[in-house]
């Protein structure tokens, strides 16, 4: 079946621009996660949704970062007034459940954001 998809795959933004990154999780998956992966680093947790509820946004680096999942399926990560330090790969993951079976996170291919 279809996996997690993300769009766009690559995004170049000028410093100060706003960007929106989209994630389509696996159909029926309750939980959705966003991670940020800087060059040479492992993914770092940003935020977690269970259905449409954002249960944890502790990893969002600043108030320029905003995520939503209004209907409990597709999610959008928005970054306002992008800065060079925002350059990274943004990974989305989904899982059937988010708590007990936390290991079953299926990742998308990521969106590589470059801020110039």
């Amino acid at each position: 079946g279809a996996g997690v998809s993300q769009s766009p795959r690559y995004k170049v933004a000028k410093r100060g621009q706003d960007v929106a990154l989209r994630c389509d999780p696996i159909s029926g998956h309750v939980s959705l996660f966003w991670y940020q992966q800087a060059l040479g680093q492992g993914p770092e947790f940003l935020t977690y949704f269970q259905n449409e509820a954002q249960l944890d946004k502790s990893g969002l680096p600043s108030d320029r970062f905003f995520a939503e999942r209004p209907e409990g399926s597709v999610s959008t990560l928005k970054i306002q007034r992008t800065q060079q330090e925002d350059s990274a790969v943004y990974l989305c993951a989904s899982s059937l459940t988010g708590t007990f079976l936390s290991y079953e996170q299926y990742f998308g291919p990521g969106t590589r954001l470059t801020v110039t």
Partner: protein, 114 residues
């Protein structure tokens, strides 16, 4: 402060031999450990996991060992195959209400030479 550490950025082995990837952690609240494999331009894919109540878990050519007292785990791949060449990430999740939150190491690039 890196709570999950993979101290070897890269590892090169011959096809057919054993690959051993290591991971250390500092947070004693970590309760579940996972290994993910990542090919270029793809997202990480789950490989194998282990609960803190076990010290070994095996799945085909892949075995994960956990030494809780040393806060150390390792992934053994035997025999190694060229298709195993990828970046391997160690990850951990805590017990309790935040057990959805994965903390990753920086990864180890494994190259298996034919």
């Amino acid at each position: 402060d890196q709570q999950v550490k993979q101290n070897s950025p890269s590892l090169s082995v011959q096809e057919g031999r054993i690959s051993i990837l290591n991971c250390d952690y500092t947070n004693s609240m970590f309760d579940y450990f996972l290994w993910y494999k990542k090919y270029p331009a793809e997202g990480p894919t789950f490989l194998i996991s282990i609960s803190s109540i076990k010290d070994k878990n095996e799945d085909g050519r892949f075995t994960v060992f956990l030494n809780k007292s040393a806060k150390h785990l390792s992934l053994h791949i035997v025999p190694s195959q060229p298709g195993d060449s990828a970046v391997y990430f160690c990850a951990a999740s805590p017990r309790g209400g935040s057990n959805y939150k994965l903390t990753f190491g920086k990864g180890t690039l494994l190259t298996v030479n034919p």
